[in-house]
Every structure is written in C-alpha cells, then in structure tokens.
Subunit: 262 residues, 2 copies
C-alpha cells in the first residue's frame, strides 16, 4: 500500500480487506486512535475513568449513542466495525479472538471510544528536529508499569503505564514544550530521570514493547501511555469488550495540528 | 517600608533616598529589571548581543535615544538616574564606585537597557504551588558559570551564567511549562540533571549567590541568568558603564502577567 494515500483511501482498503497490517507510518500528519468498545452499562464508568485520567486516557472521539458504528466527527464514512485493520475481542477480561471485521460481533448496546496515541506527538517531536529513539531503531516504544495510581471510576482502576524515549536534557525540555501543546495525545511527560522514583526496577526490561538504547548523558523521559486503559479494562473484566490490536489503529481525517491547543 | 506599596510609591521613596535596600519582595506582581547603561558607541554591540542571546539577556525596555533618562514605557515618571536604590559604576571594566544617585555621572551619550529578571518567573512558580528553594531557605539563588558559549556580538562575548533551583522531576516538568510562557524573563530552563554536562564541577560551590539544599530524589534545574550580560560587560571593558547593584533592581509598573506570551 502506498504510504502517501489519504486516510479515507487507506480506510477503504482496510474495509475491503486489502490492507490488514500495522498502521505505523501511514496517514502521516493525521491523528491515529486507540480503540475501546464496550457495552453501555460499562461505558459510563469507562468515560468517567478517562475524564479523571486524561493524560493516559485522552478521548479524541466517541460514538454519539449506543449501537452507533459511524463516527462522522472523526472522518468521512468511518464505520468502526470494519475500518480498523485488526481487532481484539475480550470476554470477561480474557482475549478470545483477533478479527478483521466486527460486523458479526456488533451489538446495539456497544459504545465506541477513540483515544489519542503517541504517534501524533512523535511526529511533532521529529518535525522539530528531535530524535525519537524507538523510530530511529525501528522498534516498538518501550513501555513500563509504574506505581502511579490512576484515579478510579466505578469498576475501572489501576496504575499508569508509561512509554519512554531517552533524550539529552535540552531535548527533554523542548519535548515538554512541544507535547504540552497536545493534551489529547498524552500531553507533557509525567516524569524524567530516575526510573525507580515511579516504580520501574529495570529500564532495560520494559513490560511491553522493546528496549531501546539509552546513550551516555541521556535521561529517560516518560509519557503516560494508551496501554493504561487497556490494563484497566483487563482488570475490570467487562463480560464483552473490543480493542484494536496493538499497532493496528484507526486512522482519522483529523490533522494532528488540529489537536494542538496553542 | 511597606511591602504593599505600589511600584510608583516605592520608586518615589527610592528617589528621595528614604529607601536604599534590596528590592526583593517589594512591588509583588510587578516586573523588576536588571540595569545596564553604557555609551552609545558600545550600546549597539550590546543590543545585538542581547538580541542574539535572548535567554540570558531578555530586553524588557530601553531608552528611546542616547541621553534619555526617562523610561515612560516601563512606568509612570521613571527617572533611571534616581529610581534604582543602588548603582555600580565601572570604569574600563573595573568597579570603581557604588552610588545611589546617577545625576552627577549622567552623560548625553548614555543608553539604558532594562533586562528581565528571575523574580517574575519565581512568582509564577510559587503561584502554581511549586517550591523555590532559595526563597524557602531565605538566601540568594545559586548561580554558576557554564561552558555554554553565548553568541558574540562586536566586543561582547562570554559563556552563559545559570541560576539553579532543585525540584522533583514532575515539578521540573511543570516549571518548564510555566516558564515557557515568560520568554522575557529567561524563559524555559536550559538544562536539568547532571551539572557536569554544562561544565559545572561542584554544585555545592556556586560562583555567585548561595548554595541551597538539594534533597534526595531532586534534580537541579538550570535557567539562563541575568548575570551573563554583566560578565560579558566586565570582559568587554567599556570605558564607562553602569549597572544596578545585585538585588537592587528597577521596579516597573508592568504586571508580571503582561510578560506572558500565552
């Protein structure tokens, strides 16, 4: 598939089954979103969880009412049942299936949440001339469980998962400035420097993703991560729930710049 | 003197000789400025030096023409010859006198520069709930010579002097956000973490000001400092030059909030 295609055309190819891969690098300049779909009776708690924890769980969009699968606010003709390359289906908190089409599973009580993801701010960092190590090294960003408690809401609770990008101090300061403009894609870093202060025992052993090189004189810089709500969902164990498969995101028609608050 | 007095009333007391002390804590909420006054033939180089090095040398105001001693843009009836509590006079780069009235020394070729100072951003940090250690400990902020070269302009050159405030990482991140709004009072920090990366050998031995406690788990956070232009002036050795005495600043009528760019 041509990486220069518009988000609409990419979604059409995803819908037709032509494209089923990782969306990283596609639809550059446009917001990609993490997906969480669950029954109405869980959705209110989850919405409150996101509102109380906006750094790890920034809501970029949601369906207008239960059962609604079109998301016109996020782009032209988006059908959330078919326009994401791969979905994960959880039953009672356990991953039971990975599918590329949700139509056979759709229910009239399902509420869709689209959450901001780090692709948007990584693009802004790179555009400013900063290095993003996981991109340079061609691996997944390293992610860690921390001891930073989320504010709980109903049946949803847990600790914050963070992603890490190593930087020189001056670049870390610049990254704080850049990411502050993008609160709906995790915003400014939560922490930098000593990993043990947020409960990370071994920086070379991420809980998710891949380790990256930390060079002499660099500080690890930590951002709240979209895996946080997934962990909260796994712990809450709704009887039915759908997420995207890691890296297989919804590509919206929203320019990344549209998320900038300043 | 009553710390609640308006900047205008404080300046009147300074002018009359009633007040000759340190201005720290007075005129809260209003911009205080560092002072540099020099002959026209040096002033163009100095202006260029400030423009090339805006973080250590942020110009808040300057006189409209050589010889002009009133600064109406900075406040009501400001006469720069008498409205600062203490001045230092340098001859060929050597401190030769400390005086409280410049009238006997005034010349028709003198150009006045008022540069932003850290008091304004310290106030913003405290208003946000952050601790500023030098204020808590009631001492002068610690300042250090670094290996960060300024861009030279004409006869002015030198390395950057920084001030340091220790903070926990999350507070340091918040401080970057707050100070970014105030580019004309040194802006965001230049560095944080390992002091040796910017050429500071012993964090407990500042080159100017006083050492402060750095608690377990805190990072030193470094800002460009208004002592930088003073050091550049001392090195350039203009045949005649005037600065304020450390801590004895010009209190303007500009609210600190007026310096915020956002």
């Amino acid at each position: 598939m041509n990486k220069e295609m518009t988000p609409f055309n990419i979604r059409q190819q995803i819908r037709s089954g032509e494209f089923t891969g990782n969306t990283s690098g596609y639809g550059q300049g446009f917001v990609q979103g993490n997906l969480a779909i669950m029954p109405k009776e869980w959705a209110n708690d989850f919405l409150q969880f996101c509102q109380k924890n906006p750094k790890p769980c920034p809501i970029v969009g949601m369906s207008s009412q239960p059962g609604e699968f079109m998301l016109p606010d996020l782009g032209q003709d988006i059908d959330i049942r078919s326009d994401v390359p791969k979905y994960r289906i959880y039953t009672n908190g356990v991953l039971t299936e990975e599918v590329s089409d949700l139509k056979p599973y759709w229910r009239d009580d399902l509420v869709t949440f689209v959450l901001g993801c780090s692709f948007s701010f990584e693009e802004a960092l790179i555009a400013d001339g900063l290095e993003v190590r996981n991109i340079t090294e061609g691996v997944n960003v390293p992610m860690y469980r921390t001891n930073i408690e989320c504010k709980s809401a109903g049946r949803f609770s847990g600790t914050t998962v963070v992603s890490m990008r190593p930087m020189k101090a001056a670049d870390a300061i610049r990254a704080v400035q850049i990411c502050t403009r993008f609160p709906s894609v995790h915003g400014a870093p939560l922490h930098l420097g000593d990993p043990s202060q947020i409960g990370i025992q071994d920086i070379n052993k991420p809980d998710f993703g891949d380790a990256v090189t930390i060079k002499e004189g660099e500080l690890p810089v930590f951002w709240a991560c979209g895996v946080t709500p997934q962990v909260a969902i796994e712990q809450a164990k709704p009887e039915f729930c759908i997420t995207h498969s890691p890296g297989h995101m919804l590509i919206t028609d929203l320019p990344n710049s549209r998320l900038a608050v300043l």
